[in-house]
Symmetry: C2
């Protein structure tokens, strides 16, 4: 019966159908206009001062079941409200965040039967606009399927864009910098699934010739697929494309429901984009009853030694095993297994000696012999260690030294298998005193046909964060969908990968020197990344000459230090091996000292694809840290220390590229110097090609 109710309940003669005069909301420089086009479809446009940011662009949702919101819609009413409040994140780049916006809610209705209703809610901030679709509770629409979203972001000119291909299953691409008219994913080798030729991912960073910096992304991705953008190279129009489910539809929803926020951050200054809290503000506050168990931290791990072919994740070299039928004690060990008790103790000793909180161990659990690429459901069980990994002994050893082991759950994309075993896996973690888990989703997803960035997987990631939260456990997700500020809601979700991390330097063409200058303008707009900085042994041949021939990280050593400041994350790995650090303990001192949680952040200079200089004040302390990085060009950066407390003296320790250093020829040449400074001081940093500098600033008692 239900589907016929609305025929009766639809009010006759909607009075507001004539409301076609544009609705306008402005806050500071940002101006939003909502109207209808000649076809009667709702549109919006955004200006920054006098400059167009988004020209008249359609809004709409196409449904799979009955008339959707893709045709003409009447505006039946609207409301506005102003909000100005502050809140304190559990951890973050700043201690206090202001949430100041003007909200416009526009009520829409199909002019024809069945007269289904849709709201669009806009929030206009000083640094941009967020909007989302809301399907209110209504008689004619309870369960519905979004076939596609028709949101446009029409751009006024052929901007420069920093983009990666719209792969439904991976964000692990180097960025291409091109005009919108030149966007073409065709020549780019697919990481997982080949993108359509003009499809790119968000966050998409744009720069206009008239000096605007525009970032398009989304906030609070919940119960919905990730949004990609289809670029029209002729008109510079962007149109949303939702990652499809196995069925081809996009999202299965139940009213009342809303989409994630579509976000447009805009400024005429690049640093303003980086400090924007628009995305975080559009996320819901956490509902966790307590958060004192959430600890920003640094860690080392049995990990990079596998990437540089010094050790293996797998215990044996036997392939084609079955999880259920294998007697792991009878396998012949290959002698290269990294996650053995002795080796892990070495990392625990190192972490304890240098005050790092945790030790990640990958390859501790059975299943790595043929874990990837087989689209196989039962790969890991998450609770059975290899014969040479003594969980209890290591837990006690670590505890005695004040260190915690960090759990690792690689799912190899078999998510149904993980979900069956999650509760048991988390009980195992609690039982053995693990406080955090690094999860992984390498390879094709099971349920087969689903994608990493589709609705089903989005729900899985959020479900996992919530379930871990209930267990007071923290998480760092790899190969998950790119973040959208959900760490406000789930502050135990410390970081994600969801971009091309440092690891690519170990076994591929690597990351170009500009890569880390683009990441904060793109991937990091949504949240922290576990980039795994801190590689000291830049040329990788010495670890394994046969297998690493010619491989190196595209960086100087000093730049690796700077990344701890320029790439924000509350969980930072010191990714290299203890023996690499032990050869440069003077430089390692910066990693020991640098904070992972902050009271304040200043972007001192930034240009995507070129350079970033960032200063941050450690949480609850007077110490400041500065990181400065450049692309493949050597560069001088002038750092005015006017953020320091006036009248106070500080000791600056400057970790800089040495003369003659460069990422390709001489990457490990660095110099460390100390000098006294105050708020009137200016430092001049010489960054090598592909180089950087890191500074710690400690008040002198």
């Amino acid at each position: 019966m239900r589907q016929y109710f609305w025929l009766l309940l639809l009010p006759a003669g909607p009075a507001a159908a004539q409301a076609t005069a544009p609705l306008t909301v402005q806050l500071d420089n940002v101006r939003l206009q909502v109207a209808r086009n000649a076809a009667g479809q709702p549109t919006y446009a955004v200006q920054f001062g006098a400059k167009p940011v988004v020209t008249t662009s359609r809004l709409g949702l196409a449904l799979a079941d009955g008339p959707g919101f893709d045709g003409p819609l009447e505006i039946t009413g609207s409301e506005t409200k102003d909000v100005d409040e502050t809140w304190n994140p559990v951890w973050g780049e700043v201690k206090t965040i202001r949430n100041h916006y003007r909200q416009l809610t526009v009520h829409l209705r199909q002019p024809q039967q069945p007269g289904r209703r849709l709201d669009v809610v806009f929030r206009v901030f000083a640094d941009g606009v967020g909007f989302r679709y809301e399907v209110p509770r209504q008689p004619g629409l309870s369960y519905f399927t979004v076939q596609q979203e028709l949101t446009e972001f029409n751009l006024p000119a052929n901007h420069k864009a920093f983009w990666i291909p719209g792969d439904y299953d991976s964000n692990e691409y180097a960025y291409t910098t091109s005009r919108l008219s030149e966007v073409d994913t065709t020549p780019i080798e697919a990481i997982q699934q080949k993108a359509a030729p003009h499809r790119v991912q968000t966050p998409l960073m744009l720069k206009s010739d008239d000096g605007l910096y525009v970032n398009i992304h989304e906030a609070a991705l919940v119960n919905y697929p990730a949004m990609m953008l289809d670029v029209d190279p002729a008109t510079y129009g962007l149109r949303s494309h939702l990652v499809p489910a196995a069925t081809g539809a996009a999202a299965y929803l139940q009213a009342p429901e809303h989409t994630p926020w579509r976000t447009i951050v805009v400024s005429d200054k690049a640093p303003e984009v980086l400090v924007s809290k628009l995305i975080l503000n559009l996320n819901e506050p956490t509902k966790f009853p307590t958060t004192d168990w959430i600890k920003p931290q640094k860690f080392v791990g049995v990990w990079w030694e596998m990437h540089v072919n010094k050790a293996s994740w797998n215990y044996a070299d036997t392939s084609n095993l079955k999880l259920a039928g294998t007697d792991w004690n009878r396998l012949k060990p290959n002698g290269r297994h990294g996650a053995n008790t002795t080796n892990v103790k070495r990392y625990i000793d190192f972490a304890a000696q240098h005050g790092l909180q945790s030790v990640l161990v990958e390859g501790w659990n059975v299943g790595w012999e043929d874990w990837a690429g087989n689209w196989k459901e039962e790969v890991f069980d998450f609770v059975t260690p290899y014969p040479d990994f003594n969980v209890t002994e290591l837990q006690q050893y670590a505890a005695a030294k004040g260190v915690q082991l960090m759990m690792h759950h690689e799912t190899s994309g078999s998510v149904t298998n993980y979900e069956r075993r999650q509760q048991e896996a988390y009980r195992f973690m609690k039982e053995h005193n693990y406080a955090a888990v690094k999860t992984g989703y390498v390879g094709r997803i099971i349920p087969r046909g689903e994608h990493h960035d589709g609705q089903w997987m989005v729900n899985h990631y959020n479900h996992t964060a919530a379930l871990l939260g209930q267990n007071e456990l923290m998480v760092d997700m790899h190969e998950a969908v790119r973040p959208t500020g959900l760490h406000r809601t789930y502050p135990n979700w410390l970081a994600s990968e969801a971009a091309r991390g440092n690891e690519f330097n170990a076994w591929s063409s690597g990351n170009p020197p500009e890569h880390e200058t683009i990441l904060p303008f793109t991937r990091l707009m949504g949240g922290p990344m576990d980039y795994t900085p801190g590689i000291f042994r830049i040329k990788l041949e010495s670890w394994n000459p046969a297998q690493n021939k010619g491989r190196q990280v595209h960086t100087t050593l000093a730049k690796q230090l700077a990344l701890y400041v320029t790439l924000y994350s509350p969980v930072q790995m010191a990714a290299d091996l203890p023996e690499a650090y032990e050869q440069h303990l003077d430089a390692f001192q910066f990693i020991k000292d640098v904070a992972v949680d902050w009271d304040d952040t200043r972007i001192l200079a930034a240009e995507p694809g070129e350079y970033i200089t960032t200063a941050r004040k450690a949480k609850g302390r007077e110490d400041w840290f500065v990181g400065s990085i450049t692309d493949e060009n050597p560069r001088q950066q002038t750092v005015k220390l006017d953020f320091l407390t006036p009248g106070r003296q500080y000791e600056a320790t400057i970790y800089a590229d040495a003369k003659g250093a460069s990422w390709d020829k001489n990457p490990e040449a660095y110099q460390i110097r100390k000098q006294k400074v105050n708020s009137k001081s200016t430092l001049r940093l010489q960054l090598a090609a592909g180089g950087g500098a890191a500074i710690s600033l400690r008040p002198i008692q």
Copy 2:
């Protein structure tokens, strides 16, 4: 590297390539021939005496990844062995089962590179043939995907067939009886998903004009999709069609692996088909360490009263609820909720009074307000009762009366949600003293795109049986794939639905009177069915005149009693309401008396679509029970009691259709008479149109 190894390891010059003379194996009347056709493809053929059963038919598997087994294959060798053994099922139709077969293993290899190997293993029994494909461990093939299976069952003539459409998601069809040339699913309304025009399901029952009864099905369906059959109406050829995954492929496998057994049961006597243990014999023995917790049983339940619109599963009439966001205590009760504490106590009282073991309660847990048809992931949590269902009070009440509650887990097809919650749900069952669960899979499956009968769901059902087994819990699965004898391996899997049950009589065109005479020849070949017999109030209007207008079960009352014998199951519901039984306690006595586990079974007469008369001896007792049913035609059945122990006197209680009874005009007219009999006695039963008779035979002390 792995994929190149086989190039080196393939032995040069296979010596057995010329082995094209047919391989022949015979046991009693059944003769198998294996050969190669002109194209070099392997074939088989089956004869029964001089009569062809399956004419020359192709064997083959098409793979999605590289050269498969669909082209020519060399026969590189073969082996035979003879097995003759007996075993005792945990429960069943007979106490002891003989497993006697001759096995032929045929080794096949691709004649070209990569020379992948495939074995086909045949077992020839006195009553048919089983065969399966086995992919041995080999260097060139570890992980592989079966795109389709190419097994043919070519029939020598235009047999009569008893078939249902090849719906990937439902078996709940009435049977069509037609010649093979007339198979056409087009006019049949789909229950879930429309079948291809000539696609039918197994078990497929066939009768040839020269008097052979042939049943085609499969045994031990594990890690593989169900097999459907595509009928060629011109040639009478059948070809396997595997239910596809969401991706379109059929099965994701890892060598060594094998398919289920393809089974051909054949006899010139219809009863021989019904007593065949071929399918059970092709299943693996159980690995459960103990089985004494597995109890065949009868039960009543809060269930039929919902089907006849006297009560509701749902507690409130509010629709469009969300599981997580609903305060169930604040919903307005509709006053018709069946699973309320008071009503359940009434069933417990009834079960206790009449010696029935269990009380099923459907609708006890929150979520029924809009549970079906929405393809919604979070419908039920399996642990939260409605406000008017007191789990603890009822558990104690039942225990005090020596009765157990039977759990109900309706998943509404959202299997990922169920899998997430299974462990917790089973803990809840153990905590509250439930010993068995009826599961349900109504509606479209989540993971979306998967089918009830595809590999992923097959794995789910088997996983569920295993997991319940670990918890010493029994299960009765509804809307699961049709059985293939896996109750030998999982004896806690008491029954499945997987066919059109009695419930259809309550709210659809119902089941024609012939239906139950076909079920044992089709659906029940694979295992027991929870058909829910025992409806005494045949005309349903009296329960709810407005909503049940003209509805009735297509049966006489006496036939409902007979079904407890003719439709074998170790778990039998007395499906009607206590108040219906209380009006006919004399007839209900048969349901109280009839056994659900047996030492012996004799099919005294049977013809699919017409009649069945079955006698069974109660496990460990001297009591026999006889059931006799007919289709829409009245019929006399002569029952020779020569199965009784010679020289012993028995009291026969005969529950028969009364004079003038008929399923449509006078269904509730029955008569009960008692008489003394012995092994030389013959009873003449007058079965009404759509009627039946039930007899209990008790030795006189």
